[in-house]
Amino acid sequence: MLYFAGAIIFWILAWLVNIWISRQNESKILNLFPPILFGVSVMLIWEASVVDFEVSPVILPPPSAIYYKFISSIPILWGDFVQTALKGALPGYLIGCGAAFFVSLVADKFKFFARGVLPIGNFLAAMPIIGIAPILVMWYGYGWQSKAAVVAVMVFFPILVNTVQGMKMSDEIHKDLMQTYNANYLQTLLKLRLATAMPFIFNGLKICTTLALIGAIVAEFFGSPIRGMGFRISTEAPRFALDMVWAEITVAAIAGSLFYGGIVLLEKWITFWHPSQRGRA
């Protein structure tokens, strides 16, 4: 009970520090502490509970075991990462985005098409598209192509819905201005509507970063060469090598956060002008 008590005390102290920090003025450095302190205290409680309550590693390994497994398996983890994230999730994400943009432009130019596609798109964006995974594996085989296909289908609909929404968003006054210049469709599209659509498009892009990785991993459950994060998880879990499974999860979490963070940076650069980026509440 000693470790557990110690961990709880640490958690309480960390919480008090966080409360103190929350009362201070905004400071970029201070703001980093609460989430880190919180995370560390959770880790300590986790580690302490596993040790003190003698939790079987088959149910939940302690963070220390995961850390050791992680360090000692870097080549394998890297290979899995390349297979799943770089060869499966990334191409699928790009293909899905490209296709969604193309269809949005068509929907923008042809209103009849838009009125039909949008309700169907909204409906399909909410569907458990992940169910297509077994079908696509059957069609495209076990390689990375089927994973990319699953990811492409998964990201297509949310991005389509967001992009179409964004294209509708130009203010009346900006559109009138374009009319007084007698600008044609292409000029208005390139100089006005794409820029105003960007905040919405990025909304969709951000949501889809996590979807992409999950899609690639789950698709591997249905068939995969002997590499890949999903493959590793589905083979190590039945063997109760849970530390390896959690190591893979750590890789996935890091990869997902980096991907998401990358898109956030891109968003800051492109939509620098939007109120949400300028720090207004």
Binding site: W15, N18, I19, I21, S22, R23, N31, P34, P35, L37, F38, G39, S56, V58, I59, L60, F112, F113, A114, R115, G116, V117, P119, I120, F123, A126, M127, P128, I130, G131, I132, P134, I135, V137, M138, W139, T209, T210, L213, I214, I217, V218, F221, F222, M229, G230, I233, S234, A237, P238, L242, V245, E248, I249, A252, A253, A255, G256, S257, Y260
Partner: protein, 296 residues
């Protein structure tokens, strides 16, 4: 009046109808293309040549097609719902109900957890600063990928049955609810909050009379996203359960045994399940928002 409904400049029925018809036609076409190789092999082995019409009719009626046609899927769904007893493991409704219960419980818990977290984040700055980044990170952890492991782990700790799956479903649905509710609870203008201050309103009065009503539009949007996520969670949670049942289980067994009709009928049933539940939320949304005059 009916003409306006079909062809009016705002009407959606005609375009949707056209697009669906288009999709169905393409689907039938692809059925022929994808199922053809198998037909050609079979014909070669029996030393017959296939005429065009024979090819079409046979690719549309294979027992294990690579791409079943719409009518094949419909027939399968009809067979396994109407023609089977509700308790039979062959009944689509039996599996559908299992997934339904997992979804509903997961959704309920997820929404509850989401609202609690949102309240914590809005009312306690320390909570907001420490927990929020982790909530976002939690969604980058592919819970779907570790679902099998969670089921196994909880199983050996004594939680079996639907419980682990409900937890996975809950994990996926709480996030949209937290994000939406935080936005919603924070949506009142400074103006409104100051007004409450001049009336010396207590914290709970402000919550129930101002923040909660103002957050209803956000709540409903989040509920719809959460419901979709719950369905996905339930389905994927079923995959490692090995024999529990449910639509995900059905799709997996179809994939393992090469029964493509099972996969497609399972997928369509899942879509119908998610679609109907979301539609119910939409209807409730419209009623509530109309009564609150937030929507005309």
């Amino acid at each position: 009046m009916t003409k306006k409904l079909w062809t009016g400049s705002d009407s959606k029925i005609l375009p949707i109808f056209c697009i669906i018809t288009f999709i169905v036609i393409i689907w039938y076409g692809f059925s022929i293309i994808l199922n053809a190789p198998w037909e050609y092999d079979k014909a070669k082995r029996n030393s017959i040549t296939l005429s065009k019409t024979e090819l079409v009719s046979q690719t549309w009626s294979q027992k294990r097609p690579k791409l079943p046609t719409p009518h094949q899927v419909a027939k399968e769904m009809w067979d396994t719902t109407v023609n089977k007893k509700l308790t039979s493991k062959r009944s689509l409704i039996y599996h559908g109900l299992i997934t339904f219960y997992e979804t509903i419980y997961g959704f309920a818990f997820g929404t509850g957890l989401g609202i609690l977290l949102a309240l914590g984040i809005v009312y306690n700055r320390a909570t907001a600063m420490s927990v929020m980044p982790w909530i976002v990170t939690s969604q980058t952890i592919p819970i779907l990928a570790i679902a099998p492991m969670i089921v196994v782990a909880l199983g050996s700790a004594g939680f079996s049955g639907l419980m682990p799956i409900v937890i996975i479903s809950m994990y996926l649905s709480f996030f949209p609810v937290v994000v939406g509710m935080v936005k919603g609870l924070k949506s009142p203008e400074q103006l409104d909050i100051d007004q409450m201050k001049t009336w010396s309103a207590s914290k709970s009065q402000v919550l129930f009379k101002l923040r909660a009503p103002k957050s209803t539009p956000y709540l409903f949007t989040s509920l719809k996203l959460g419901m979709a996520a719950s369905v996905v969670g339930a389905i994927v949670g079923e995959l490692p359960s090995g024999g529990g049942g449910g639509l995900g289980f059905r799709m997996l067994s179809g994939s393992t045994f090469g029964n493509t009709l099972h996969i497609w009928s399972g997928l369509f049933s899942a879509a119908i399940l998610a679609g109907s539940l979301i539609a119910i939320i939409s209807i409730i949304q419209r009623i509530v928002l109309k009564r609150m005059a937030l929507e005309t």
